[in-house]
């Protein structure tokens, strides 16, 4: 009962915060004057003057896409160089050396693509300058890129007989400057107040009160407390659906997520912007109902997923009970259920909700180890990513991904009402269809191909902690996480090998940039079309039936693609 209240509380808080934020974001992206404008507008204008950006310029889709890709490529190149060279750069109190190229490639790709898959371990391998000027910058701009591309698509729906879809530079600047930075400041302060570290100190070494001897006989008498500018980075990694933790164990680490309140703030931050963007979309296209319909479809999938994970974790499994040795019943002072891999300070409900939020939103930060979830709990987290990260998904990219699914939905449903398909007044023709399937199928193709190849390689099998069905789950999870640009890890999987770094890097690139290319192309094509009138003969796309159909298509594509794979992994485990 208490868990139920907790789940419901999260969802209601999310809704209450997301709705006004959605309106605010739409005003910002449409260049309207907002209450933060007096502070930010001068900075914005200064930036344009500095970089020579003409903010009134309208770009064709090709130019828009060119700018977006160029910007991301430069970001990648800089980050890659920074990671390789960090040993010779300042702000490196622990004197960490530069990364090897495969790991640097993987990490750079991972942050540019908003994935934040962590093949490295933050406090052990990255200097403060890499964290701050490398990763944190990408945390902002990769999320900003997502919002920019989303607004390009929105303009495609709104404009008629127009060959331009906005200006990438202003879209990026506005999304980062007016939305991400102010929110990050707020969240940094909130979690900083809870004790999340924010310093430039050396790591602190302390003596243990009692020497610990490991099972291999090593005696440990000293502990190390890491430091660093964590709070500021954590704020944006949550808000920007990035997920790359400052510390290796991510938000399960006490210095990253110390209290239930910091947990609540961080968890809500995961879904805040993706959820708000649904309402921004509704405002922008002039139909709040349309925005709410898309939101409802995502929300329903979220609640469903959360319910299944929560139930499954609380119930545990027969194997876990170990013939009564482990108490699965919740009782006084006992959480019951499957607590393996979960922090006792969060418990099952907070962990399960986080697991659902983070995999639904392509965030990838974790406050518990998904590897230790029950088979069904783990399956849901995996499926969330395999659906293409459209259950809210990443900032911007979740919604534009969902809109591509909506295009597929109106295509089939639209034919059934005896018209050639149209969505929000725009005809869906072969070109849009080609691009929409490219966007929707990039994720499943990347996951299936990547994991298919990986499972043939003996070296991959060697980097696994577990074997049998669970081993396949770990492998599948890794590729799903990168293919969904999520970045969370199932753990139990040594990911820092040349093959895995490179192949997962490629999977992340495909899953991120194929949809971006496709979506901007769709935007360009739609902007040039006329807007059809809405009549009784038009397929309504802003009602419950459409939300249901959209859910069905998303699940269908996901199920058709992954049912066999999942049945060899978590389903086989579950039925054991």
């Amino acid at each position: 009962m208490q868990a139920m209240l907790q789940y419901a509380g999260y969802l209601i808080l999310l809704l209450v915060l997301a709705y006004p934020l959605g309106k605010y974001i739409d005003n910002v992206m449409r260049g309207r004057w907002v209450w933060l404008s007096p502070v930010i507008r001068p900075v914005e204008r200064f930036l344009y003057r500095l970089t020579g950006v003409n903010e009134r310029e309208e770009m064709t889709w090709k130019k828009y896409l060119g700018c977006a890709l160029l910007f991301n490529f430069c970001g990648f190149a800089l980050l890659f160089a920074l990671l390789m060279l960090q040993g010779r750069l300042p702000l490196n109190p622990m004197e960490l050396s530069g990364l090897e190229w495969p790991l640097a490639f993987n990490t750079a790709v991972s942050f540019v693509t908003n994935t934040n898959w962590q093949a490295y371990s933050g406090e052990l391998q990255l200097s403060y300058i890499s964290q701050m000027f490398g990763l944190t910058v990408q945390n902002f701009v990769s999320a900003g890129t997502g919002m920019a591309v989303l607004y390009a698509l929105i303009r495609g729906f709104v404009r008629t007989y127009d060959d331009t879809i906005g200006n990438f530079w202003t879209d990026l600047t506005k999304s980062v400057g007016y939305v991400l930075v102010p929110l990050a400041v707020v969240v940094t302060l909130l979690i900083g107040s809870q004790g999340v570290v924010q310093n430039f100190e050396d790591y602190t070494t302390y003596n243990l009160s009692e020497t610990v001897v490991t099972e291999y006989g090593t005696a440990i008498s000293k502990g190390v407390v890491p430091g660093g500018p964590a709070a500021s980075q954590i704020a944006i990694k949550q808000l920007g659906t990035n997920g790359g933790g400052f510390f290796g164990t991510n938000s399960a680490h006490p210095l990253e997520n110390p209290t239930p309140f910091s947990n609540l703030v961080e968890m809500l931050s995961i879904l805040l912007i993706p959820a708000a963007l649904c309402f921004s979309f509704g405002n922008a296209v002039g139909s709040r109902r349309q925005g709410v319909t898309i939101f409802a479809a995502m929300f329903a999938l979220l609640v469903l997923g959360m319910g299944i994970i929560g139930f499954s974790e609380q119930a545990g499994t027969a194997q876990l009970a170990q013939n009564g040795a482990v108490l699965l019943e919740a009782g006084d002072m006992q959480p019951g259920g499957n607590m393996e891999g979960k922090e006792t300070r969060f418990g099952i409900a907070s962990s399960a909700a986080w697991a659902e939020f983070t995999t639904a939103a392509s965030n990838g930060s974790v406050n518990s180890m998904h590897d230790s979830y029950t088979p069904i709990g783990g399956l849901i987290t995996m499926l969330n990513m395999q659906l293409g990260e459209v259950v809210f998904g990443g900032v911007g990219c979740g919604l534009y991904g969902m809109l591509c699914f909506a295009i597929l939905t109106v295509f089939i449903a639209g034919l059934m009402v005896g018209r050639t398909p149209e969505f929000m007044g725009k005809k869906i023709e072969p070109y849009e269809m080609k691009m929409a399937v490219l966007a929707c199928l990039a994720t499943p193709v990347a996951i299936l191909a990547g994991s298919g190849i990986a499972s043939m390689l003996p070296e991959v099998a060697e980097s696994m902690n577990n074997h049998g069905a669970h081993g396949l789950s770990e492998l599948l999870y890794a590729y799903s996480s990168c293919g969904g640009n999520n970045g969370s890890a199932f753990a139990g999987f040594g990911a820092d090998t040349v093959f895995l770094n490179v192949s997962l890097g490629i999977v992340m690139l495909l899953a991120r940039f194929l949809p971006i290319v496709a979506v901007v192309a769709i935007a360009g094509s739609l902007a040039g079309k006329k807007k059809l009138a809405v009549t009784e003969g038009t397929l309504p796309t802003d009602n419950v039936m459409f939300a249901g159909l959209l859910i069905a298509i998303v699940l269908l594509v996901g199920a058709l693609s992954f049912f066999p794979a999942l049945s060899l992994g978590p389903i086989a485990e579950f039925l054991q």
Partner: protein, 686 residues
């Protein structure tokens, strides 16, 4: 020709069977990527069977490979058959048309005069601009415009209508079609078509499907189906490697054969819709042809499904062709009988249907008989465009009838008075949707004749149905706005265009299109051509001019103004069939997964048998059942693909609900039942 060929089904059937084998050539198969995948799978399983039978490589039990190979070949053949049978009807129609298209001799004139000199040449050597003389009994050698003469022409070769029609120079009845026959008199025709590009050639190409290109919508659907197929190829390939991984982990031997995976791939690929896609398109075209409408492209039919504004000519569509006198309204102290008597006299020589209806009404109401008046006593004044009146002079008495404003001018010139009472009577008639005809005797107005438009039975309901589907109906009429408004209200159209000129029509179409509507219209005259060219669906009457036919994207061989509604129905039904069968095809995959996945993996993880919810007997029977279902569902759905799904006029939302229930839910349930039954059947033998 269109309606005669329904009895040929047996012939069509046997030629379709032969055609199904002919279509096995790889080039032909490549046109349909989904079926090409099945085709390649058939080749692969056949090779595996041969390898197994010769002991070269054993992938699966030999009998099993053979069974799968045979079934996959049948799947390909069934798809070919579906397309062939859809084409068959068109081929038969084309053959009938071809027989009309013999190369005849033509008499080419040096100038457009029937007495000019000329020479006999082959029809195939005629070029646009040539003049030919065609006499009674001869076949018209090419499409053209009549420049001299008038004749009755038998156009049954093209329209199937045996009653001859009049073709004459000037006006809107000047177009003639090559392959039709002059029955009486003669015509001088200016040729308008290049050899091989005549209307008849186009017709043959269209009904035969030779000129058939994939429509944009078909292409878009195909992209979707190809994308799904690619996913399924990856699904099966990755399964192969997962299996490899799991085998190593579990230390078990080969448990999943390539044959099984191929069977899975074919079952998952959207073969049902892939096989029927082109048949659906061809059948839609065929249904249109059977309605005696010829579309110049497949695109036009789909556009018909999208149309949401119909411009309908009042006459013939909404009202019966002719107005009828329904009341005599005397004014200024005249009696009704007096009015009727004068009106009858004025109309005796009037051979128009309106004129005759006045005579008829006078007889019915007052028993006034037709009178034989001596020629010298009566001078009939025919209708003239300047005066816009007609009438009769009997001795010194002058009777005139005509439109109110014309009569007002006439009576005021004569020094009479056009009274307020008369004005009111005129207004009353106009407001009721009638046409007022004022009758005057000498300088005195006797009254008004109420000419009434008769609205066709059932049109009101029809328009209400269309409205429910979101289709707006707009009445086009030359009547004045007051009359038009009354008729529009009575007929239940959404809007009207009164005193319509070609320019006004064109402007209206542009206006609706700018607001995002898709507009359909019919037209026949040359002055309709710009509007026809602008409309999204433009149906030209076959009786219309060449210019109209060229501007339109469909030709109605029956020249029926109500055809538009039927065309919209056919267009919508075509799209609905495509969507519904796609839904059905994809929904089928659920059951196929539950049949095949447990069968494949039970060897690796016995616990996965729990997914065998249908309780299928063995992996072999499960896979065979799924593959057999997959092949035969194509055959089972051919009639639906040809006939189209059930259609009714309803809103998009309710149509969607209905089709989702039937084809979506049905698509989930049907294969579960069928595969279980097939498995029980196979279980008896295996």
């Amino acid at each position: 020709m269109m309606r005669k060929n329904n009895s040929l089904s047996k012939e069509i059937f046997s030629s379709a069977v032969a055609e199904a084998f002919k279509k096995l050539s790889p080039g032909k198969q490549l046109e349909n990527p989904v079926m090409f995948l099945v085709y390649m799978s058939s080749v692969l399983t056949t090779l595996l069977f041969v390898a197994g039978a010769t002991g070269f490589y054993e992938d699966a039990p030999v009998w099993f490979s053979l069974a799968i190979a045979v079934l996959l070949w049948f799947t390909v053949l069934f798809a070919n058959f579906a397309e062939a049978i859809a084409e068959g009807r068109g081929k038969a129609q084309a053959d009938a048309l071809r027989s009309a298209k013999k190369d005849v001799d033509a008499f080419r004139l040096i100038s457009p005069d029937y007495q000019a000199e000329g020479e006999v040449v082959a029809a195939s050597s005629l070029r646009p601009g040539d003049f030919v003389l065609v006499r009674a009994g001869e076949q018209i050698p090419a499409d053209g415009e009549v420049v001299q003469g008038a004749a009755s022409v038998d156009e049954s070769a093209v329209t199937g209508e045996s009653a001859p029609v009049i073709r004459e120079s000037g006006g809107d009845r000047s177009a003639v079609t090559g392959g039709t026959q002059v029955l009486s008199d003669w015509l001088v025709i200016q040729v308008t078509s290049e050899p091989g590009k005549s209307f008849l050639d186009k017709m043959i190409a269209m009904v035969e499907g030779a000129a058939r290109k994939k429509t944009p919508n078909e292409l878009a659907l195909q992209i979707f189906l190809v994308a799904l197929s690619i996913i399924f190829i990856l699904v099966t390939m990755s399964l192969y490697s997962y299996k490899w991984f799991a085998q190593n982990e579990l230390n078990v031997h080969e448990v999943i054969s390539v044959t099984q995976l191929t069977a899975l791939l074919v079952c998952l690929a959207p073969t049902t819709i892939g096989a029927l896609l082109s048949a659906i398109g061809i059948a839609g075209m065929s249904r249109l042809n059977q309605a005696n409408v010829l579309a110049m492209s497949g695109r036009a039919i789909e556009a018909a499904g999208d149309v949401d504004v119909l411009l309908l000519d009042k006459t013939g569509t909404i009202t019966l062709g002719n107005r009828q006198a329904s009341e005599f309204i005397p004014v200024d102290g005249a009696t009704a009988e007096e009015l009727a008597d004068a009106a009858q006299l004025a109309s005796l020589a009037d051979e128009t249907p309106e004129g005759r209806s006045i005579v008829q009404l006078a007889k019915e109401q007052f028993g006034i008989r037709e009178r034989q008046l001596a020629e010298n006593e009566v001078t009939f004044v025919p209708f003239a465009a300047q005066t816009r009146m007609s009438g009769a002079d009997i001795g010194t008495m002058q009777i005139r009838k005509g439109a109110a404003d014309a009569l007002q001018r006439y009576i005021e010139e004569k020094g009479g008075v056009f009274s307020e009472e008369c004005r009111q009577a005129v207004d009353r008639v106009a407001k009721a949707g009638g046409t007022p005809l004022v009758v005057a005797r000498d300088a005195r107005i006797l009254g008004v004749i109420y000419l009434k438009d008769i609205i066709k039975d059932g049109v009101k309901d029809k328009f209400a149905d269309l409205r429910r589907m979101g289709i707006k109906t707009i009445m086009i009429t030359g009547d004045n706005p007051v009359t038009a408004a009354a008729i529009a209200a009575e007929a239940g159209v959404d809007d009207f265009l009164a005193e319509a000129t070609p320019e006004a029509k064109l402007a209206m179409i542009r206006d609706y299109q700018a607001k995002g509507h898709m507009v359909a219209m019919t037209g026949d005259g040359t002055n309709d051509a710009p509007a026809l060219a602008q409309a999204d669906v433009a149906v030209a009457m076959n009786t219309g001019t060449q210019a109209a036919k060229e501007a339109g994207n469909m030709v109605d061989l029956d020249s029926s103004p109500t055809k538009l509604i039927e065309i919209v129905r056919i267009g919508k039904q075509l799209l609905m069939t495509r969507g519904s069968l796609t839904t059905f095809s994809i929904a089928n995959d659920l059951a196929k997964y539950f049949a095949i996945v447990p069968a494949l993996f039970a060897g690796l993880y016995p616990q996965l048998n729990a997914l065998n919810v249908m309780g299928l007997k063995s992996p072999e029977t499960a896979i065979l059942s799924a593959v057999v279902y997959n092949a035969f569902i194509i055959v089972a759905l051919i009639p639906l693909a040809l006939k189209g799904v059930a259609y009714r006029e309803a809103s998009a939302a309710s149509m969607l609900r209905h089709n989702l229930l039937v084809y979506g839910a049905g698509g989930i349930i049907v294969p579960f039942v069928c595969i279980k039954l097939l498995d029980m059947l196979f279980g008896l033998f295996i």
